[in-house]
């Protein structure tokens, strides 16, 4: 994890993480399979996040879950996980560990800083803790994960230099 | 011509405190029957009536307008005039129009202030260059003035432009010297005045409500001022054309969308030509009053509200300040929206239809102003002769059946 900036009551760190997009119906067969592989029951409420020591699993839409591995597992192990899931013809697990970059943002001014870059409504009544969202930030597609102590933002890697610069700029100005 | 305008007529009227100017046009009540009714009192509609009366000898004509003359897109656009279109059919149509513009002030004896200050289209990447050079080549072969400008030549013509130090540097441009801008209201008023002189009834505050047909033939139009019979009806109602067509059972390939424009506060002359950039969406010219006239983009959704999203304005302005660093301290004075009717191939429809006596002139999308006299001229021909002029033959409704489109979208993004 690399520190991007710490200033004006905002702290931003960046890191990459192993990550898989899982597509499927969310039926009991689907849930059982994931539960078996991860020991974590996928959330059934849309946008809800469940987590354990090693995983963040968020339901981003009726047929899409994002799974983030917090520990540095081996890439091949994740590849293997996808392979196992993909044996099921009605599911698709895609390894996107190399496709995205994460930013961990915390501090008192987190939301006022982020609202320089996005129209997104961060108020607790509209964006509850332990939920996720997909939105635009600095004109770039992002995933937001509102965790208990901080917020995680991920974007595609080709945008990450630009996005990091925009975050720094938003903290400074 | 009954009303003769010149510096002498102004001087004469000055003595009477400008109180004795004659009315530009009458305000008649509709007659029971007309040979032709034009629905829509914008530049295209008024021009159609003018040419019908002048070139085709029709005298019993009415133009009916829901609001006030020129209050639709005629009075809401950024007044850019050019003819440097890619395809032959478009080039001929817009060039026909441009030639009419060049003599219009004299013809109407009303100054439409056509200012041939040139129109520049910028290239910001290799793909733009290819497309622009292709267009210049086609233009020249069609006899249309169009030339390539190097970056240095652009800098000389528009010294305030930032050509290098921006995300998408300016690599060159096409330039049409005969292009320019005109006074938008003047063309509506000028056509209206001269059409009125030839006996055309111009009826404002008269909303067309239903086009009545019988056995596949036009009967007339129901309006807020009652039913008016007609032999022929030309619909030139821009954003509202498809709504009216629907009343006659005709479905048109049009979608009505908001298009916005804005002006800055007036300043002394700073930009002497029209500069357009499709890639960064920044169209600008400076009016004779000193305002920067800036065109923004369309919203994606259908709407008849004459307003669009602020995000569209933002997109344009951020491109403007990047391209012209002196504009950082400029201010937006007014913004507004119009309703543009867009065809799938971004080309207009000037055509008859399955209903006998019913004609449409629509689909001008974001760029109809430049075509005003040309469109009116060939539409009048189409209505009078019941068949298209060779210039508008390609712009028929049938092209959406055959697939012979006139696709002016320009090409897709570069691949590989």
């Amino acid at each position: 994890m690399r520190e991007v900036i710490r200033s004006n009551e905002v702290e931003i760190k960046t890191f990459t993480a192993l990550q898989v997009i899982i597509r499927g119906s969310g039926d009991s067969k689907f849930n059982n399979l994931l539960n078996k592989k991860l020991n974590l029951l996928p959330p059934s409420d849309n946008l809800r996040i469940v987590s354990d020591d090693n995983h963040i699993l968020a339901k981003l839409s009726y047929d899409q879950w994002n799974l983030i591995f917090l520990n540095k597992d081996e890439n091949l192990k994740v590849q293997n996980f996808c392979h196992e899931i993909n044996k099921n013809s009605e599911m698709l697990a895609t390894n996107i560990s190399d496709a995205q970059v994460f930013f961990q943002i915390s501090g008192e001014n987190t939301y006022s800083m982020m609202n320089k870059l996005t129209h997104f409504d961060f108020r607790e009544k509209n964006f509850k803790t332990m939920t996720a969202a997909q939105t635009l930030m600095a004109r770039i597609d992002c995933n937001l994960y509102k965790l208990n102590t901080h917020i995680l933002v991920s974007c595609n890697r080709s945008f990450s230099d630009y996005f990091e610069d925009r975050l720094i700029d938003a903290v400074n100005f | 011509m009954k009303k003769k305008y010149s510096i002498f007529s102004i001087a004469r009227n000055a003595f009477s405190g400008h109180k004795n100017w004659p009315k530009m046009w009458r305000s008649p009540e509709p007659r029971e029957f007309y040979d032709a009714i034009i629905i829509g009192g914008g530049g295209h509609g008024l021009g159609t009536a003018y040419y019908l009366a002048k070139e085709h000898g029709l005298k019993n004509i009415a133009v009916i307008e829901k609001g006030w003359l020129g209050g639709g897109n005629t009075g809401r656009n950024t007044t850019i005039i050019r003819s440097n279109y890619l395809w032959d059919d478009s080039a001929h149509l817009y060039e026909h129009s441009l030639k009419l513009w060049e003599n219009l002030s004299q013809e109407l004896n009303y100054n439409v202030m056509f200012s041939q200050r040139g129109v520049m289209n910028l290239a910001h990447n290799e793909h733009d260059i290819k497309e622009i050079k292709r267009r210049i080549s086609a233009n020249n072969l069609n006899g249309i003035d169009s030339q390539w400008l190097s970056k240095e030549e652009i800098q000389k013509m528009v010294p305030i432009m930032n050509t290098d130090n921006l995300r998408y540097p300016v690599l060159g441009a096409s330039f049409q010297p005969r292009g320019g801008v005109a006074r938008h209201d003047a063309i509506a008023w000028g056509f209206a005045m001269r059409a009125d002189e030839m006996g055309v009834d111009i009826i404002q505050n008269c909303e067309a409500q239903k086009i009545r047909t019988k056995n596949g033939k036009i009967e007339g139009v129901e309006t807020s001022k009652g039913f008016i019979r007609a032999n022929k009806i030309g619909v030139v109602a821009s954003g509202h054309t498809s709504v009216l067509a629907e009343t006659a059972g005709i479905r048109l390939p049009l979608q009505s969308k908001p298009l916005q424009a804005l002006v800055s506060e007036p300043i002394k002359p700073i930009i002497d030509t029209v500069v357009m950039s499709a890639a960064v969406h920044a169209y600008v010219s400076q009016s004779d009053k000193g305002e920067l006239v800036i065109g923004a983009g369309t919203d994606s959704y259908n709407s008849f509200t004459q307003r669009g999203g602020f995000n569209i304005i933002e997109e344009t302005i951020r491109a403007m300040v990047e391209l012209y660093p002196v504009f950082g301290k400029m201010k937006m004075l007014r913004q507004w929206g119009g309703i543009v009717d867009i065809c799938p191939d971004a080309s207009p429809i000037i055509s008859k239809c399955d209903v006998e006596g019913l004609f449409f002139n629509c689909g001008w999308g974001t760029g109809g102003f430049k075509a005003t006299p040309g469109s009116a001229n060939v539409f009048a021909h189409t209505i009078a002769k019941n068949e298209p002029h060779q210039i508008n033959a390609a712009f028929s409704l049938n092209r959406f059946v055959s697939g012979k489109l006139v696709d002016e979208h320009g090409a897709a993004a570069v691949a590989h």
Partner: protein, 116 residues
């Protein structure tokens, strides 16, 4: 800028969405024989009413899901948003605010703001 309530993500600025034009237009199945005209209508012609309009949106910068909506194009008011597999709500469920095909509503139009 409109505020659109994605049925899956909640209300978001319109900048996150793309408009998909008229809803409930069935694509002719390739197995049917249809005329050039019928096919041309499917490809090129969509309703363009002033007033109540069934349309499609996709949350392109969010969950990428499509959904339908009833919107009044004379005021831009979104009257109902529903999922693709929800039934098409009948027109009679909504108030038509314009009296004539190209008329203006009482309020909400860009054209008139004065009571006559």
């Amino acid at each position: 800028m409109l505020l659109i309530e994605c049925p899956y993500c909640g209300p978001r600025d319109q900048s996150e969405f793309s408009n998909g034009g008229e809803a409930h237009v069935k694509r002719p199945d390739g197995s049917q024989e249809i005329s050039d005209r019928e096919w041309g209508e499917y490809v090129f012609i969509r309703s363009n009413p002033k007033g109540l309009f069934y349309e499609r949106w996709v949350h392109s910068h969010g969950c990428r899901k499509w959904f339908n909506c009833v919107r009044d194009t004379s005021t831009d008011e979104i009257l109902k948003i529903y999922k693709l597999d929800d039934p098409k709500p009948p027109l009679k469920d909504f108030e038509n605010k314009i009296q004539t095909p190209s008329g203006e509503p009482d309020v909400g139009s860009g054209n008139f703001t004065v009571k006559k």
